[in-house]
């Protein structure tokens, strides 16, 4: 009782957060039971018919599903690799810039798209790559026929990947840059005395110095393999490029919201959550073990 008296303000502070989390985070988890039901909105969870794994077999046998899964993995793997390589190169190059104002200016420019919404950026990209947009202007001036970028499956996938890297690269770049500035300066002085040039210094000091951060960023992004970028793709794609750009999340959205197939949609969602949770657990454990990374 004494303990309760002492601790009750702490419990009280947690009440609003707990209630909201119960409703809006745990509530939907409970709703996942509909993955095993022939869910009818009017009957609700309790009266809908149980169908076991029928929804799963139904979805996995849909002709589009393999393509959707493949798209998801391809798009997110490309994004993952580029999200490490591009910011790394930029950070290394930027680190060689000695004039501070120039460095600041470049950082701001690269970081800017990160803060804008996909509606704004989607609008910008669609304008840029439209049939008589500036990109096609360049294509035409090189003597080729204009390309329908947004209606061509191969190009469109590239645009999805490229524009996401463009939006997000500033973030990882700044994280890496911060790691580079954290490297002990005496190491460089020692290397210079030993006659190592800038290139050698980069190979032997800078890269090993930021390797832990790069590994950490890579490991943490693994948990997102099945998130290929829902909001981005939803705003930029159109039926013509479903084949190359439809990913699990957009597929679930159309399945649930437009065809009202709640059961199958929840089944795909559950499938995705379970795989993501597995990957997150593995990578989190790895990050903890090799880099002693903890979040709380």
């Amino acid at each position: 009782m004494k303990l309760l008296r002492k601790e009750y303000p702490l419990h009280l502070m947690l009440v609003p957060g707990v209630i909201l989390t119960l409703i809006y985070a745990y509530g939907p988890m409970a709703g996942l039971v509909m993955a095993f039901q022939q869910f009818e909105p009017l009957s609700g969870f309790f009266k809908s018919e149980w169908v076991g794994f029928d929804n799963f077999t139904y979805v996995f046998n849909l002709p589009d599903f393999n393509q959707v899964l493949w798209n998801t993995i391809v798009i997110s793997l490309f994004k993952m690799v580029l999200f490490l390589v591009v910011p790394l190169i930029l950070a290394l190059l930027l680190n060689e810039v000695t004039r501070r104002w120039f460095s600041r200016f470049i950082q701001s420019a690269i970081f800017l798209p990160f803060f804008l919404s996909w509606t704004v950026l989607g609008g910008v990209i669609i304008e840029l790559f439209s049939l008589d947009g500036p990109v096609n202007g360049i294509v035409k001036s090189l003597g080729s026929e204009p390309i329908m970028f947004m209606l061509n499956n191969d190009w469109f996938r590239g645009i999805i990947i490229g524009s996401d890297v463009w939006k997000g690269m500033g973030y990882n770049m700044i994280v890496m840059l911060a790691a580079i500035t954290g490297i002990n300066a005496t190491l460089y002085e020692a290397a210079e005395v030993d006659g190592a040039g800038k290139w050698k210094q980069m190979i032997h000091i800078t890269l090993p110095g930021i390797a832990p951060i790069i590994i950490l960023l890579g490991v943490l992004s693994l948990g997102n393999v099945l998130n290929a970028g829902f909001e981005q793709i939803l705003i930029m794609y159109n039926p013509t490029v479903y084949e190359g750009a439809d990913v699990i999340d957009t597929f679930v959205y159309r399945l649930g919201m437009f065809s009202q197939q709640f059961g199958p949609a929840a089944a795909v969602g559950l499938f995705k959550s379970v795989i993501s949770l597995g990957l997150v657990s593995i990578t989190y454990y790895a990050a903890y073990k090799y880099n002693n990374y903890r979040i709380f």
Binding site: G17, T21, G27, V97, S108
Partner: protein, 295 residues
Amino acid sequence: MHKPSLSRRMFIILNTLLLTFVTVVGIVPFVHLLAISLSSNTAAMAGEVKLWPVGFTMDAYMFLGEKVEFFRSLWVSIERVVLGTAVNMFLVFITAFPLARPNSQFKYRTVYVWFFAITMFFGGGLIPTYIVVKNTGIMDSIWALILPGALNVWNMVLMLNFFRTIPRELDEAATIDGAGYWRILWQIYLPVSLPSIATIGLFTIVGHWNAWFDGILYMNSPDKYPLQTYLSTLITAINSQMSSMSPEQLRAMENLSEKTLRTAQIFMGALPIMLVYPFLQKYFVKGMTVGSVKE
């Protein structure tokens, strides 16, 4: 200092050129958008506009001033940012405080931490969340945009980690002076954590301003759309128009304003962030490094 070698100077020149190119790639799309919005509609439609307005006119912006939908959704966005940020920050603050107590002071700490942490890794997904929101009766109201994400666990963890850096002597002294937990929270932790609150608050504001998908999901009538959701309808209408022309889409196209007006609206949707961003950047950078690089 010795004089840099020839290859070093070559590198510096190349590096400067390359980075300038990257910078241009970062900024030019927005310049292009601005140029279209300031051009005459015929020039914009014909695709003559590159980086400089052709047939300069402010017509699109003048017309925007009379566009009811734009201002209505702008108002929804402002409401959402103000209300949403207040709710988010309050919850982050009062939730992080108990969880930052040492186990000796708060016996159930670990239980609560896992209760919240699990939601970061596992969720119900789109459809079940939609049904829950629907069943709680907040569809079509601003609360549907605020409550489901009201407690951002990631921000809470950032705040919690910041609280733990506050010297324990501070609240020990306060406890001896007879202050309870609530008093310690508001009168000691609040003023001390202003930098952290600023960082998380700014991320929250940007998040609320930029969110658009929940508007589509939870608002049944377009006059309740926040600005970014409204903009998304302009863009997706254009996009589906390109591939197929069903009667519904054609009708949507009729309501759709010309190219210059559309770009003007997109630009206005980005403007607030473009304006404040240079001033906020240093906070963001600091907050990010705190959040992602930890031993």
